[in-house]
Structure formats: C-alpha cells, structure tokens
Symmetry: C2
Subunit: 489 residues, 2 copies
C-alpha cells in the first residue's frame, strides 16, 4: 500500500471507532439498563484510549511526509490537509496533560452535579478552578501563530474562529436584540397548550414522516435530553422527550432532525474519510436551529403542524399552535429560553469564559459576574447559583469555547434561510404546502455536501455570498416584538 | 508496569472490544434500521481486525515469557495459563489463511441463503467445498500433539473434547433414544394452544420476573431469532419472538435466560480477565437447556407457568400447558425439534461433518448421506435439500465442530439437574413453589463461578462427581414415552 492508502485505511478505522463511540453512548442514553453504567464507562475509556493512540501515532506523520503533493485529486488534497491539521493539533497536548484534563472533567461533572443540587458554589469552585487551569494550559499548547489560549480552545469546536471577531459580532447582536425584548414580552408572551403525551407522540411521528423520516433508515426514541446520533448516511437516530402540556417535543424533534439531515447529505465521495462529518459545532447547530426556528416556529408551517397535531387527536388552530411555539419571556435558564432571548444567554457565557481563560476573572468572582451580566443583558435578577452560573455542565466538564456555537448557529441559520428564500423561495409558500424537498436539496448542495472541506466562515461565505451578519437573525426575531396576531401576516 | 500488569491491561482491553462486538451485533439484530447494515458490516470488520491484532501481537508472547512462574496467586496462574493457550492457538493460523476463511464464510452464507431459497444444492456446493477445504487447513494448523483437524476445530468451541469420545457417547445416546420415539409420538404428540401474542408477552414478562429479570440490569426484546447478549454482570439482554398460537416464546425466553444467568454469576474476581466468560459452547448450552428442558418443560413448573399464562389473560390448566410444551414428533428441522428427538438431529450433523473434514465424504455426496442418516436415526424421509442438509447456516459459514455442543448441552444439563436434585432437592417441590433461588445459587457455585478456569469435562466432573453420561438425559426423556397423563405424576 502507498502512504495515501495507508493514511486512508487509518482514517476509515477512526471513522469506525467514532461510530462505535456514538453507538455506546446512544445505547447508554436510550437502551441500557441503569446498572450497566459502570461497565460502559470502562468500555468508553478503552475506546477513547484506542482512538487517541490510533489518531496520534507517529506513523501518520510518516505517511503524511511521504505523500507526494502533486497528483492528488481535490478530495485527497483535502483529506491530507485536514489529516495534517488534526494530527498536528492532537500531538500538541502532552499525554499527561490530556489525561489530567480528562480526569478533571470527569471529577468536575460529579462535583457540579452535587453542588448544583445543593446550590453550593463554594463546593464546586475547586473543581472548576482545576478545569479552568487545565483548559488554559491545553489552550497554550494548542495555540498556533500567536493565538490566545481561548482562541485555540475555540478552534477545537470551530476551527478558524477568533474571539475578537465574535466579540464584535456578539456586541452588535446584543445591541439589536435587547431593545426588542420588552415589546416582544408584551405582544408575544408564552402560551401553554394542554396537549397530552400520546398526542405529541403521534404528531411528532406525522411531522417527521413528512420530512422523510422513515423506519428503514431512521429511529426516533425517547431520552432524558434530546440528542442525535448517526452510524452512516442510512442509520440516523434522533431522540426527543415528552412532557404533558408542553410543545417542546415538536420543536426538539425538528431540531434534532436538522442535525441528522446534515450528516446524511454529506457528499458520498467523502465516506470513510476524515471529511465525512459536519464541519463544526456552529454549522451543526445552524442546521438544527434552521429546522427549529425557521420551519417549526414559522407561521406558515404552523398550518401544517396544526393539521398534524389535530389529526393526532388534539384539535388546535394554526394561530394558537404558533403562539405556543414563539412566546418570549426573559428567563434564567438557557435551555428553555425562547428564540429571541436565547442568544443573550450565550453572550453572557462567552464574555465570562473568555475572562476566566484569559485570567481576568477569578472563579471565586464568577457568581457575582454572572449576576451582573444577566442584569445587564437580560434585565433579570439571579436568585441562586443553581439557577445562575451552575446551570450548565460545560465548564465543570472542561468545555471552554463551546458556548459560542449555540449563538452562531442561530445567526448562520437565519442568514442561510434568507439566502435560500431569495434563491428558491418564497419559502413560506413551500412550508405552507409542506414541500420541504427543495429546502433539503438546497441545504444538501450548499451546506451539507462539503463535509469538513470548508470551515465555518468559508462555508458561510460560499453558501450565502457574504460574511456572517447579525441582521438576518434580527429580521427573523423582529415579528415577535410586534403584535402577536400580526406575526403570521 | 510489570509484565503481568501489562498482560492484564491487554486482556481487559480485549474484554471491552468483545463487549463492543456484542453491542454492535445486538443493536443490528434488535434496534438498527435495516438500511444501516452496510456500514455496520464495515464497523464489525474493523473491530474484528483490531481484536485480532491486539490478541495475537508479539508483545503478549514477551509478557508471557517474562512473567515469573512462582508467586502467582491461583487466579493469576489461570489467567496466564489460558492467555498462553489462546495466544498460541491464535498464532497457529497464518493471517492469509484466516483472511481467506473469513471471506469464504461471508460468501458461503450468502450462497447458502440464495441456494436454500431455491432448494438448489448444486449452486451451494462450490462455496461449501471451499469452506470445508479451508476449515480442514485451519484444523491442520491448529492441531496439537497428533490431533486430527476435526478435533482441533472442535477445540475452538469446546477445548479438550475429542471426537472419539463423542462418537462413543453419541452412539450410546442414539441407542437409548431411538427406541423411545415411537412410544413417545403416540403418548405425547404435539398439542397446539391458541394463545395470542399479547398474552405470551405478558406471560413471558411475569415468568422472567419470577426468575429475577428486573429492568435495572436486564432487557427483554424481540428479534427474528432469539439470542442472548451481555455487556457486564449487570447488563444482560435476552430476546425472544412471538407467534400467534405458539408457545415457543415461553421456552425460548427461559432458554435465553439460562445463557444470561451463566454470564452474570461468574466469580467477580475474574472480571476484566480472559477467564470472565462461559467456558465452552456446550456448557453454555447446558445452562440454557437446563432452564428450557428441566424448568420450563417440567410438570411441576407447569403449575407456575399456567398461573402466569392465566393471569396474562389466557386461561389454561397446568396439564394442557405442559402437554403443549413437551410433545414429541419425528421431524425434519432441528431448530423446532422436541427434546427427545433433538439430539438425534445433532448426531446426524456430527457424523457428517466429521466425514467431511476427514475427507471420507465428498460435498457432492452430502445430500444423499444426509437422507440416509435421517432415515437411520429418525426414520424420516427428507423431501428436499432445503429441508435437509441446507437447513442450517453453520457449514456454509465455515463453522465445523460447533454442532456437538447442542447435544452435549442436553446431556450436561440432565446430569447437573440430577446432581442438584440429590444435593438440594426434590427440585420439583421447589419448582412447584417457584422457588428458584436455591437452583440459581447451586449453579452459581458449581458451574458459573468458575468462568473459564475449568474446561467442559473437568467442570462436569467437578460439579457432578463423574464423567459425562447418557443415562440422566435418557431418564429425563423417558416419561415422554409413557402415557401423557402419567407424565406429571
């Protein structure tokens, strides 16, 4: 075998190990009897160690060295380029630092869970400090060309993003959103629907079937927290959860569908290579947010949804269903925030994690800094750390640089939607008729097919013809600030 | 790390890779959307290759060489002994022969499936010939100390068994069973029960719950063919299938329970070593047959089962239920054979595979040899090869030496049951009261706890005080040849 074939053989093996890792996780969260957890953790550790060994081994460097630059086709050139980037990145963190960080992350999650339950930040602080310190050191190892440690960490989720650019973008976003909130709260408050679990299940089945979710290549299950997993283009598994009188299942099933569709529509020519997955956390999130915000929450698709919900046994008008899906209210908790206030929750976290990693904010001062930021950006008073800076698992698990992707996903989705609307729209007309095939095809061609060949910002530019902007998202949320009954007009 | 720690580290890794292999298979058979099969095959191949690499690597030989003989405790001595045996065996087959055999097995299964559907032995013969030839060559490589190739293959499923011993044992078994069949067919013919699927499901849930199957550490699912998988002592998964008006689900769920219980009761001190699994195919099968034949089919437990079935909504007497579970009829198909005729189906296969590997029987002559053996042992005429020598997948998939374990399992189960009856019985009294804890405990202590520390025949001797005999099984089936209504007395 020549060095390119050897490299491709190893990359295919890593694809399989990643699929097994996802399978073990999916099974744990959806199927595994509770007492199987202890053994599953050992299996996961073995898989992680094998994957680390096989993805960082010196042979890969030798193969990369030996592959001639000339004569590669376009795909192989990208395979080699991304393999070199991943391999170099993976070797910059010494094994003992990586192991210490993994251990601190596991212990940090435990400490977080206990501390949050007792609303006791002081008992969480040491574990958090350790994770901040180790993340900063990892960032220092990973940094290239004078990058800051935070930017290096950010690159682990979203290669090529810079915190300076995000700061400017998020500043403009906050300026655009904050004035809208009061009006939106007044005109579009949250509305409850007394829809039961069985009706939600039937409605979710119906609406997903409209989008092409068949039993031959999809599964739809229930888990404590909705998520998506995939084992090939023809084996996609989404989960949701059902709570009585709550429409979250309608939103979350379309959200997860967006993640699933992305992985299904990557160019088949990239199969079994390092390019065969979504390019970044923010683009992945843009695909879920697109189906959640721009489809599930659109007044046009509400007509389709209302028909499905009614067929499922719960009679509801399109206007009432839509009102229950778009209500705006300032709140404390990110995961249940509405589409307008959601990005502000992310900006709070971005500011604070940037300061934590940069050393300008001490862990001890985090609770107060959180309160201040929530007051400034959302005008809410935080009554406790459990409902404040301890609500998310990320930092306790060592994940710094992850949060921005949630807000970037909202912005990218809105910009893609406007571009698509100009290209193949009006999309409202398509949605009203539940004709999603043109939308799927456009996303497939302009976003999904690329896999990892384009990083986030180059992909946004290729798909929309310009850099990432705030205005499309601001235009998307603006109707929420107008009278609710005007929203559908 | 010293060489013993290094060896134990590798063995634990192999335990995890085997668990992942079982998980990928369980998921494929129980959960996977159909179109996921292509990608799953690639994942399975990667796992098999990794497991092969990691279990045959030269380092293992170096560690084994470097581990001092003295100072090992009893368990470590067995860990090292079995590791040496497995490692030496794994390296006797050259990699290209192993790869050719794996490919022939995959192709043979495809050829078998098509040929069986069309009842066309001639189109299967070339693939079968190739598998026979490669199995013989594998057997020649594996043979130790003048072993025949067949005995060497047998050792892959059941270490230490010899075909000469099996020939004597099976000869005596055939002599004991054949005279019973006519009488049994007359007194104990198969009886149908018009029990529906929903009632079967509820009854299976009830009876398994009596045996300790809880949702915290077990799963019970449906698959095309019942099987058992396990990922630790606290994560056991059995499957069954339900067909209207068929009591197979009651038998098969207890059968699979027996496999599951075995793996759960291995000494925890053996966890994450090469000793932490059932010792052989035949002992595994003895555990499933024990619960199927001696519990599910016992007249005493029929009282418990009938109560569960009645509670599940299908009113039935213990006598009628029992009669539906023990009916005897000469038939063509192994998998649906009754407990009395079942071992004769195995003897047919044992004779023929011994002759195929030994070179005394040509593949072209197999169909006629099958007809002759079925006539001689079961007195039935085989109308087609699809219902004859092509009914099982094993040979087309290169598995020679596997079949004997099915009959040995029946014999071992009967001998264990008699020994247990003398030690803690009368077992009928326990079964009538659904008191299975003493049975579970006795099996745990005398059979399960050993893991792979004792091979089949030493285990039988340790548990029962004597070598494997035919008489206990003959005594078990004898009541079937007496008047049916006397069977429960």
């Amino acid at each position: 075998m020549n060095p390119l074939e050897q490299l491709r053989g190893r990359l295919a093996e890593l694809v399989d190990l990643e699929a097994l890792t996802r399978l073990a996780e999916w099974d744990q969260l959806v199927m595994m009897p509770a007492e199987g957890g202890e053994a599953r953790a050992l299996v996961a550790a073995t898989l992680a160690r094998l994957e680390h060994e096989r993805s960082t081994s010196a042979e890969i460097g030798e193969w990369l060295e030996a592959i001639p630059e000339d004569g590669l086709d376009d795909i192989d050139r990208d395979v080699v380029r991304i393999a070199r980037r991943d391999w170099e990145r993976s070797r910059r963190v010494p094994a003992d630092l990586a192991a210490a960080a993994a251990q601190a992350a596991a212990e940090g999650q435990d400490a977080w869970q206990r501390a949050r339950a007792e609303d006791d930040f002081a008992s969480f602080a040491p574990a958090l400090e350790r994770n901040v310190e180790l993340a900063r050191r990892r960032g220092e190892c990973l940094a290239e060309d004078g990058q800051s440690p935070y930017d290096a960490l950010l690159g682990g989720f979203d290669y090529g993003l810079r915190s300076g650019d995000l700061r400017a973008l998020f500043g403009a976003l906050a300026d655009a959103l904050t004035p809208l909130i009061s009006a939106a709260e007044e005109h579009s408050p949250p509305r409850a629907l007394a829809i039961g679990v069985a009706e939600q299940e039937a409605a979710v089945r119906r609406v997903l079937a409209r989008l092409g979710v068949d039993t031959g290549s999809w599964r739809v299950d229930v888990s404590a927290h909705p998520f998506t997993s995939w084992f090939s283009r023809r084996d996609t598994r989404v989960t949701t959860r059902y709570r009585d009188g709550d429409v979250e299942s309608l939103l979350s099933s379309l959200h997860e569908y967006g993640h699933g569709l992305y992985e299904r529509q990557i160019d088949p020519a990239l199969a079994r290579t390092n390019l065969d997955t979504g390019t970044s956390m923010s683009v992945h999130e843009s695909q879920s947010k697109l189906w959640e915000n721009h489809v599930a929450r659109s007044p046009a698709f509400a007509e389709v949804l209302a028909a499905d919900v009614s067929e499922a046994g719960f009679d509801v008008s399109a206007a009432d269903l839509h009102a229950s899906l778009v209500g705006v209210r300032r709140s404390l908790i990110r995961v249940s925030a509405d589409p307008l206030t959601y990005p502000l929750h992310i900006i709070v976290r971005f500011e604070l994690e940037l300061a934590l990693i940069g050393g300008e904010l001490a862990v001890a001062d985090l609770p107060e800094a959180w309160r201040e930021a929530m007051r400034r950006l959302l005008d809410v008073e935080v009554p406790s750390d459990a409902l404040g800076c301890m609500q998310d698992v990320h930092w306790g698990a060592g994940a710094f640089g992850y949060f921005p992707s949630y807000a970037l996903g909202c912005l990218i989705a809105a910009q893609l939607w406007e571009t698509m609307d100009a290209a193949i729209g009006p999309l409202d007309e398509l949605l009203r008729r539940a004709e999603v095939a043109p939308i799927q095809a456009w996303l497939g061609e302009h976003v999904h097919a690329h896999g990892r060949r384009l990083d986030t910002m180059p992909l946004v530019r290729a798909a929309t013809g310009r850099g990432l902007e705030v205005d499309p998202f601001a235009r998307y949320v603006a109707p929420l600030a107008r009278a609710a009954h005007g929203a559908g007009a």
